[in-house]
Symmetry: D2
Subunit: 135 residues, 4 copies
């Protein structure tokens, strides 16, 4: 499990005064990127290498409480499941004070770019995901 | 059912070369806003009036095929279900040529802003949602 | 000069209730992309070909009036200047009713990706920019 | 002068593989928000109070070097000028290693919301801006 801290900024919000729903998913993805960095398997390397991609094939979120400009948020990200060709991550966004603002899940496939076909999760990524541990 | 046409722009994409997952949800939401405009119940009026909000309490999407800069996309949005205090919309994003790129769903609660409590779907919104029809 | 019509959507705004400043620049860029499509030199082709990039080296905007959710906006984009290795575009965002909401300018360099060096504006792009005409 | 550290994330980039121009301005604005927080004059309070707004009336940026996913960035934000009814901030985005990626400037007006008219910079904000110091 990785903990990522962030602060809600004006751009994350909309005219309803709170975080735009899709921005909460973006914040979750930023936590996933930070978790991969921490686990020694940065997305930057995946992009640079160009051997495979990790497209999100499913995403979902439950929005439990609004988040406002200036709110401190702790995003917990962990491995929900690890299949042969895909993996699922779970997220929990908790505002300072302990209020859970949202939970989310993303499912990532492994795609070999040369063939355009799904492929086994690379060993180094498997190791990083297992090191991340459950949510 | 409302059909909303758009074109994928550079900002919708990321360094993997395709539409960023959360941007597909944003595009779906834009189709929802256009559908409400067409149904005579614009979100602008809801915001201006300030009596209630329609926060998204759940969202999910399946990403079936990548979308690239310049791709024309048709977004079909329709009413999936209508409850006493909430409603659910379903979306299908189809690229020119007929390839379905993504499907999505959003669930919206009705929140009376004065009380901060859930409230019945206003009659005018009910009418607009029914006029929208199934996806 | 190319005219691009759009409508302000919830995601374009922030908690101050109006369009976020950087989103107005994004809307201008979308008008530029639409203008290139209309001129027969789509950015999608530039990206697919991978021979050169057109990085923005300077951008500026004046924000004259706020834009709100649901506002119809007409974005006028035109060629401001065309140099040997770069070009500048000018934008004007006018809300329905005739109120000018913002003006902007972007300066684009031509970068040959193989060398990482600036390069002459390709002939086909020159032609498209000249066809676009002054703002 | 305030230093704000961030890391480029996938959402900040586009299909050209580098940070989207308007996202660099968004990152600069996040540094401004962090600077106001540090100076004891958080934007959250301004929004909550609803007495005045600080709309950006002008923004500009020079993009000197590309930023990629995973790049660590230090954003320096400082006060460029302080007028009776407005203030200007200057930014410098420096990638790890010392390469300056962008410089930017934003000019903010003070708007009293009750009247819709420009108004003097509030004393507490003046103090926070002066404490911030030159860029």
């Amino acid at each position: 499990m990785h903990l990522h801290r962030t602060t809600i900024r004006l751009h994350d919000t909309d005219a309803a005064g709170v975080v735009y729903f899709a921005s909460a998913l973006r914040l979750a993805h930023e936590a996933y990127e930070a978790a991969l960095d921490a686990a020694g398997f940065p997305l930057a390397g995946v992009l640079r290498e160009g051997a495979f991609a990790l497209p999100i094939v499913h995403a979902e979120a439950d929005f439990l409480a609004p988040l406002c400009v200036g709110d401190g948020v702790e995003i917990r990200v962990g491995l929900k499941s690890l299949g042969p060709n895909s993996f699922a991550l779970a997220y929990r966004l908790t505002a300072d004070g302990g209020r859970v603002a949202a939970t989310a899940e993303t499912v990532h496939a492994v795609l070999r770019l040369a063939s355009g076909k799904v492929a086994p999760v690379p060993a180094a990524l498997k190791k990083a995901l297992r090191a991340l541990g459950p949510p």
